[in-house]
């Protein structure tokens, strides 16, 4: 296939106008020894029908959550995506537009991002949101860098309840900087405020927690915020946006920087990306926020309009003094979240959260009632919980898989102490029959 439209005749005409004989002459600045003197070693071009068949075969070689019943979570969740999300976010004007630097030509995107920022503030109870970051883990890392930029302290305290992959991303980011990272272990599934208090000092950059945390347990953000603030540090909380339909909002709990993975907000599982990192802060952090910000203003005729703003924080102006190197947002994913949140609305988000809560507790009760299965933690949970089994975890999950069920995420890879455990997530999409089938498969295993 080719996507160029220039015919041989066009090319001839263009060369004539430039005043050269062949396209080769345009590459005269590329030194001979830097040139490739053979074709690239790649598979031959495909026509459209060949390519569709080829891609179809690759897609067909996977076994996804349309074919299997998904109880996997661990940061990505099989929530229902309303049809309007695909239909509206798929409009090609949104898909093929650039970053809205030219405000007059980009009001549609700018208004959508302004609405996104507002929705994230409403959802988290925070003052200000940016226009999104890459994903939940990098949003958490950016929050840590922002806190360091604000107070210059060098010791980041991270709860053991934070997703282990997020902790690894934090380690990667902090390794290059004069910063240390301290993990607070969470043997009960929850961050212990007393242990946190002992760890905090006047060198604490920030405290990072997650709620519901990696184990599904609901943390008391209010108590953790109080302890953190006593050390003069900000609390960074990674939250599940669906849980915000039910739990006290981070903003009401004293959280200073709320971040999270926006995938549950109308974004397909898509084998891990592209997803959406959201970040919302208290007013005091507004000018320290990484990433893009959209603001409302007026045009010369006084009409309400929107533009990218506070760009003096950004790389193209501040260069090495920029607060972050992030120079995009996840535009199309932020748009999906905007459509999702306005489609479900106030009552819908509460309904989704309530369904998750009921179904997860139904599943947990039934599983815990099985011989040789129990819940690993007594802490309150929302839509996800850790199951401990005296059977072999690998075999249990394999047995369920043979019955078309993705029963959970084995935790041994991340936590040696939890090698006899797996994490089960139950969204509003799961039916009672599916949950019963899961329970039956675990029992048989």
């Amino acid at each position: 296939m080719q996507y160029t439209q220039l015919t041989d005749n066009d090319v001839r005409q263009m060369l004539d106008r430039i005043g050269i004989e062949s396209i080769d002459a345009l590459f005269q600045n590329v030194p001979k020894r830097a040139r490739l003197d053979r074709p690239l070693c790649l598979p031959a071009a495909m026509t459209e029908p060949e390519l569709i068949a080829h891609l179809g075969a690759l897609a067909g070689a996977n076994h996804g959550c349309d074919e299997l019943t998904c109880f996997l979570g661990g940061g990505a969740y099989d929530h229902f995506i309303p049809t309007v999300v695909d239909a509206l976010a798929g409009q090609s004007e949104f898909v093929t537009a650039y970053t809205p630097y030219q405000a007059e030509a980009s009001q549609g995107a700018l208004q959508a991002f302004f609405e996104y920022q507002t929705l994230i503030c409403q959802l988290t109870g925070m003052d200000v949101s940016n226009a999104s970051l890459y994903d939940g883990a990098t949003a958490t890392a950016e929050a840590a860098l922002m806190a360091r930029g604000a107070n210059g302290r060098r010791r980041l305290i991270v709860s053991g309840g934070v997703h282990p992959d997020t902790r690894r991303v934090l380690e990667t980011y902090l390794r290059e900087l004069p910063m240390e990272l301290e993990i607070i272990e969470t043997p009960t599934g929850l961050t212990d405020p007393g242990v946190l208090r002992k760890a905090c000092s006047d060198e604490t950059t920030a405290v990072v927690v997650q709620s519901p945390n990696f184990f599904g347990c609901v943390e008391s953000l209010e108590r953790l915020a109080a302890v953190t603030h006593d050390a003069g540090a900000p609390l960074i909380a990674s939250v599940d946006p669906i849980a915000c339909g039910l739990l006290k909002l981070p903003g009401a709990c004293g959280v200073d920087i709320a971040v999270g993975e926006g995938q549950p907000l109308g974004i397909p599982l898509g084998w891990g990306g592209p997803y959406l990192g959201f970040m919302a802060v208290r007013e005091a952090f507004m000018r320290k926020l990484p990433g893009r910000l959209v603001g409302a203003t007026r045009d010369t005729n006084g009409r309400r309009s929107f533009c990218l703003t506070l760009q003096t924080r950004e790389q193209h102006i501040r260069r090495e003094r920029a607060t972050s190197n992030v120079c995009t947002n996840q535009g199309l994913l932020a748009l999906r979240a905007t459509i999702y949140l306005s489609a479900v609305g106030r009552t819908g988000i509460a309904n989704v959260a309530s369904l998750c809560l009921s179904k997860a507790h139904y599943a947990a009760e039934r599983i815990a009632a099985l011989d040789r299965f129990e819940l690993a933690f007594a802490a309150p949970f929302f839509k996800e919980f850790v199951v401990r089994t005296r059977k072999d975890v690998g075999k249990v999950l394999q047995h369920a898989r043979q019955h078309g069920i993705l029963a959970g995420v084995a935790l041994g890879r991340w936590h040696e102490a939890l090698r006899d455990c797996f994490l089960v997530a139950v969204t509003e999409k799961r039916t009672r029959a599916q949950i019963d089938a899961l329970v039956a498969a675990l029992k048989e295993a």
Binding site: P31, G270, F382
Partner: protein, 511 residues
């Protein structure tokens, strides 16, 4: 109800915000009622952790929601509707088949923590893409994980730091030409390194003397964009590589401009050790109003062991796997494995074009740029001599009329053309990148329009000062927006509500 005609929305009026359309009780989503016993939240979660009321999201019915976002879509320039000669951004056509590929349920419904056996098609696709990107770069191996170009820069610098550390060194400086993308120095800072600018010569190339003066045993790397941001291939690239390597540093390529050299020259062959791609530029994945993109990073042999974890590998039996056991890796740089949906599109693009097609892309992109430049000769100043790569700079010679490059850019909007990149890397310039996918008719229409605007600037400068006039809004008060930031909608104060007042209606231009 009001009878005030000013309150009747006009077809061209800005759509109200979602929040101003909220209609309590409306909802665009229906879900089945619980088929399990309903759990009272307070019976399983301590009351002090629960919210008293749901978050105050707007409530909107499905049709109004559809109209709202459709109207927003219509207030937006896009590649599908407009020519977008936006230098350094490669706004080429985004093939429709790529969208079809990425939307295949066999890809969209995969959970990232499924077993490798369940995702062989996905792993195979991504492994093939890694291999293809390594071949195009002339380098040994590739990670697909970085989420964007800047994220790729950061990952690449971390790889370079890890390589130095493995040799018992910690180097603190990173050199970059003064014309580098702003993300280059910002990425250095994020990686705890100092960015040192290197001068450019009047001909747009790196000043080798300045480079020799500044490179030393503290230099970790030099970051270079080649072809550079002025649209010129640096013919001294071999000398640059030699100087950098001579100091024990590595050469990093910002791959923003790869669209000019696909199949023509490979970074690995001209001395580059580490580079990132912008697949949203070079490999046609759509920009989505600012994202998602993807910034895969390629490395020379010897640096593979530092690539982020996990890495996609092909086993001896021909199956594919995620390798998590990488003791020398810089670690994880993001959640899960990458911007997969974006990478599928890039894969489809490379598979569609094949080796000849990719080379044809660069040849036509370079041809289109040089053709438009030839058409504009005599009407604008050219800070640098051609031939150009895939983009070039012009400077409007218009200042005697008080017209700036911004005015020219905004006037283009009136003609349905997205403005070029402005004022960078040379003062008052416009950076024009037509791309290979435009027709000759579009290129000619663009050149004619720019020439027309240049004439207008001389005869009717007010048309430029007041542009755009045919966009949904005229120029904005951006200074005011930054001075008193209004970054979210807020509900009106209760007393206003009781007085029956709403946000004032948008004022309609009466001219």
């Amino acid at each position: 109800m009001t009878s005030n005609p000013d309150r009747i929305p006009r077809p061209d009026a800005p759509p109200p915000l979602l929040f101003e359309q909220s209609h309590p009780g409306a909802c665009a989503v229906s879900l089945p009622a619980a088929d399990v016993p309903t759990v009272k939240p307070a019976s399983v979660i301590p009351a002090d952790l629960l919210a008293a009321v749901p978050p105050p999201l707007p409530e909107i019915g499905e049709l109004d929601l559809v109209r709202h976002f459709t109207r927003l879509a219509h207030r937006l320039f896009s590649v599908d509707a407009n020519f977008y000669p936006l230098g350094s951004c490669t706004m080429k056509y985004n093939p429709k088949i790529n969208e079809r590929a990425a939307a295949m349920p066999g890809f969209t419904n995969l959970h990232p923590l499924q077993a490798d056996e369940d995702v062989q098609g996905m792993l195979g696709l991504l492994h093939t893409l890694q291999t293809a990107l390594a071949e195009i770069a002339g380098l040994a191996d590739v990670t697909l994980q970085p989420a964007a170009g800047a994220h790729g820069e950061m990952t690449g610098l971390m790889l370079i730091n890890a390589w130095h550390r493995s040799r018992g060194e910690t180097r603190t400086k990173v050199l970059a030409p003064d014309t580098a993308h702003g993300t280059n120095p910002a990425s250095c800072t994020v990686c705890g390194r100092h960015a040192i600018p290197i001068k450019s010569l009047p001909n747009g190339r790196v000043d080798l003397d300045d480079l020799r003066k500044r490179v030393d045993e503290q230099t970790a790397a030099m970051m270079i964009t080649n072809p550079n941001t002025a649209g010129l291939f640096d013919s001294h690239i071999a000398d640059i590589a030699e100087i950098v390597h001579g100091a024990g540093a590595l050469l990093y390529l910002d791959g923003a401009n790869m669209n000019a050299i696909l199949g023509v020259a490979r970074p690995g062959d001209f001395g580059v050790d580490v580079m990132h791609y912008n697949v949203h530029k070079t490999f046609s994945t759509p920009h989505g109003c600012g994202g998602p993109g993807a910034g895969p990073v390629a490395v020379r042999a010897g640096l593979e062991r530092f690539l982020p974890t996990p890495h996609i590998v092909r086993r001896d039996d021909g199956t594919y796997a995620l390798d998590h056991d990488r003791p020398d890796s810089i670690g994880k740089v993001r959640s899960f494995y990458g911007q997969t949906g974006v990478l599928i599109r890039a894969y489809a693009y490379i598979a569609a074009l094949g080796p000849e097609g990719l080379r044809d892309v660069s040849e036509k992109a370079v041809l289109a740029a040089n053709y438009v430049a030839a058409r504009l000769k005599g009407h604008f100043a050219f800070p640098f001599e051609g031939p150009y790569a895939h983009e070039f700079l012009i400077v409007p010679q218009l200042t005697q009329h008080g017209v700036t490059e911004l005015d020219v850019a905004k006037r283009l909007i009136d003609f349905g053309i997205h403005p070029p990149t402005m004022s960078w890397p040379v003062a008052h310039c416009l950076m024009i990148e037509p791309t290979e996918t435009e027709s000759l008719a579009t290129l000619d229409a663009f050149a004619n329009t720019l020439i027309h605007i240049a004439n207008e600037a001389a005869t009717q400068p007010d048309r430029l000062h007041s542009a755009p006039q045919h966009a949904p809004v005229t120029r904005l008060d951006e200074v005011g927006a930054a001075r008193k930031p209004e970054l979210r909608w807020r509900a009106a104060e209760p007393q206003d509500k009781s007085a029956g007042q709403q946000e004032p209606p948008p004022r309609i231009h009466k001219a």
